[in-house]
């Protein structure tokens, strides 16, 4: 218990730090997959992939699901899943439209209402999962229908135009390039830094890891498991609304079907990024890179003139192969057996 400061380093040189590979194995792995894919695309379709346009295109579209993937990473690390975020995207954006287009309120009030809606949806999910102990896989399917249904009823199934004339501020925030840089990716970077800091440099983030690793241990040591999970779900709600607004403004129109088609891309980004479905481990860097890999496949396959039907095939291949590789490499690095986790 003495607090000498002079010798903070371990006395014995037998105490070796885990290798870089061991510590950052899965993050390096996903970056490797990303670079490899890029090379393949360059060789396969040099005309497309040496042109800046393709990068602009997927820098605009990938963050639309990637931003949610950042938040979903927290939920998955706690050992849960949220399948309701596509509906939250729509409900949040719908509330914005109701407040501004129908209610005549200014855009910033609309934003507050939209984010409050997202937070409430997330809190509700978190309450059901953490407080009532209902499996998240089951209950968020339920709330997904609930939120979507609510949105369809409120909007009566109709859309709302979101033109740049009517909503100049919203277009400046969510769509127009920032000094020529795709603002969607700028947001992805900003929110990525926010998420990284939350996960790696706050108590909340530390508790996210502990809760996902061993809930009972965490509780025995005084971690409030219910609150940690509720906050993680709330984060998804907030980020989903952000993405819902960004997506709607990008298309100049609010569709009542907003969010459809986002589910698998988003979840794939989290798992491809090396976050474990068993909870307790995961990384924001991984999710970030994986988002762009998935975005690149989308954009790449289409712009390379490959039949769009191949997109899913390529998707499937990349995801299956890289998740399998990641798992194998990780076990190799950790020195674990093939079956024992």
């Amino acid at each position: 218990m003495d607090t000498q400061t002079e010798d903070t380093k371990p006395a014995s040189n037998r105490i070796a730090a885990p290798s870089v590979l061991r510590r950052y194995g899965s993050q390096l792995g996903i970056i490797g997959v990303g670079l490899t894919m890029w090379m393949v695309f360059m060789v396969a379709a040099p005309i497309v992939f040496l042109d800046i346009d393709i990068y602009v295109a997927f820098a605009q579209t990938s963050p639309q699901f990637g931003i949610i993937a950042l938040a979903l990473t927290f939920v998955v690390i706690t050992g849960e899943i949220d399948l309701s975020f596509p509906s939250i995207m729509a409900l949040g954006a719908a509330m914005f439209c109701i407040a501004t287009a129908y209610g005549g309120l200014p855009w910033y009030v609309g934003l507050v209402i939209a984010f409050a809606t997202g937070a409430l949806c997330g809190l509700f999910n978190g309450f059901l999962v953490a407080k009532l102990n209902i499996p998240s896989l089951v209950i968020t399917i339920g709330t997904s229908f609930l939120f979507r249904g609510l949105e369809l009823v409120l909007m009566n199934g109709t859309g709302v135009p979101l033109t740049a004339e009517e909503y100049p501020e919203m277009h400046a925030i969510f769509r127009e390039p920032f000094f020529g840089f795709p603002i969607q990716t700028l947001w992805m970077i900003i929110l990525g830094i926010v998420a990284w800091t939350l996960l790696n440099r706050t108590r909340f983030g530390a508790h996210v890891f502990l809760v996902g690793d061993n809930q009972t241990s965490a509780r025995l040591m005084g971690v409030n498991v219910v609150s940690v999970k509720m906050r993680a779900f709330t984060l998804v709600g907030l980020f989903a609304v952000f993405a819902g607004l960004m997506t709607s403004i990008y298309g100049y129109y609010f569709w009542p079907t907003t969010g459809e088609g986002f589910l698998l891309n988003t979840i794939a980004s989290v798992f491809l990024g090396g976050t474990s479905v068993f909870g307790g481990t995961g990384s924001i860097v991984g999710t970030f890179v994986a988002t762009y890999i998935i975005g690149a496949i989308n954009a790449g396959v289409v712009s390379a003139g490959i039949n769009a039907f191949y997109t899913q095939l390529v998707f499937g291949l990349v995801i299956v192969v890289s998740v399998v590789l990641q798992t194998l490499i990780e076990r190799r690095v950790r020195g674990q057996s093939m079956t024992g986790r």
């Binding site: 903070t8 371990p10 502990l210 009972t216 025995l220 307790g280």
Partner: protein, 260 residues
């Protein structure tokens, strides 16, 4: 001796008529128990007697059944929780160790009481270096597996235990609860752990010590509780009973449920 001189000041922790029921099972019932300042209290009893349940109730992990009271330094506590208990200076080595095995040692060491910088962000650097210092100086672990960045899962059983024990001692808690801390430890590690407990007393702090090995418990404690089937079967100060008499009466309790 020590307990006499402190008799006037309020006990660190006191349970009054505390019971805990899990469904049909009444794990502990009507427990009266206290730990005075500077006192090492031993807790003995058969498997399933309710020792660990009592510890977890003291820690706020279990909420006692209605009618039970927990007093901390003479004040009745209403909303007791693990975070609150730790905040007030009670640390525990749980029987099940309470580690998160996929996490690095430093995260386990500071689990639930993470260090922060003045900006409110985690002080990861400090936690790492403190964990490294504690593991080598405090526990004397020198194996390559105990670098602070290594995950707990790959450590040996005794090393894992070392993490749990070091963690409980690190915060210099007023009351340290040790639920079978020597289980699975080597001879020299056991000796070291018993010395730690003796040091707790020297520093004027208190401890609750649970162990099935009477030869470990008897020498370091001031007072003893014997638990049987969820009830306090007897309590002794050390000058009231010799080790042989204690062993004799423990057998008697196991047979009849009565001390005398």
């Amino acid at each position: 001796m020590a307990s006499d001189s402190n008799a006037t000041s309020a006990p660190i922790i006191e349970l009054r008529n505390v019971s805990k029921t899990f469904g049909e099972v009444r794990a502990i019932s009507g427990i009266d128990f206290k730990v005075n300042r500077g006192e090492i209290v031993g807790l003995l009893g058969d498997n399933g007697a309710g020792k660990s349940t009592m510890v977890k109730t003291i820690m706020g992990f279990h909420r006692p059944d209605a009618g039970g009271e927990i007093h901390f330094k003479g004040k009745k506590i209403h909303d007791w929780s693990v975070a609150r208990a730790r905040g007030l200076g009670i640390e525990t080595v749980y029987q099940e160790r309470a580690l998160c095995e996929k996490q690095p040692i430093w995260r386990n060491m500071f689990m639930g009481r993470e260090m922060r910088t003045k900006f409110g962000l985690l002080d990861v650097h400090k936690m790492r270096s403190e964990a490294a210092r504690l593991m080598s100086e405090h526990m004397g672990f020198t194996s390559a597996a105990v670098h602070p960045d290594n995950v707990v899962a790959t450590m040996s059983g005794g090393e894992k235990q070392g993490v749990a024990i070091t963690r409980a001692l690190y915060f210099e808690a007023e009351l340290v609860v040790l639920d079978e801390p020597t289980m699975g430890l080597s001879l020299s590690e056991t000796k070291k752990t018993l010395e730690f407990i003796a040091n707790i007393k020297k520093a004027g702090r208190s401890a609750i010590f649970i162990d099935h090995n009477i030869f470990h418990v008897y020498p370091v404690v001031d007072r003893l509780y014997v638990l049987d089937r969820g009830k306090v079967a007897g309590t002794y100060t050390k000058d009231e009973i010799s080790m042989d008499e204690l062993i004799e009466s423990l057998y008697r309790v196991a047979r009849s449920g009565k001390m005398e």
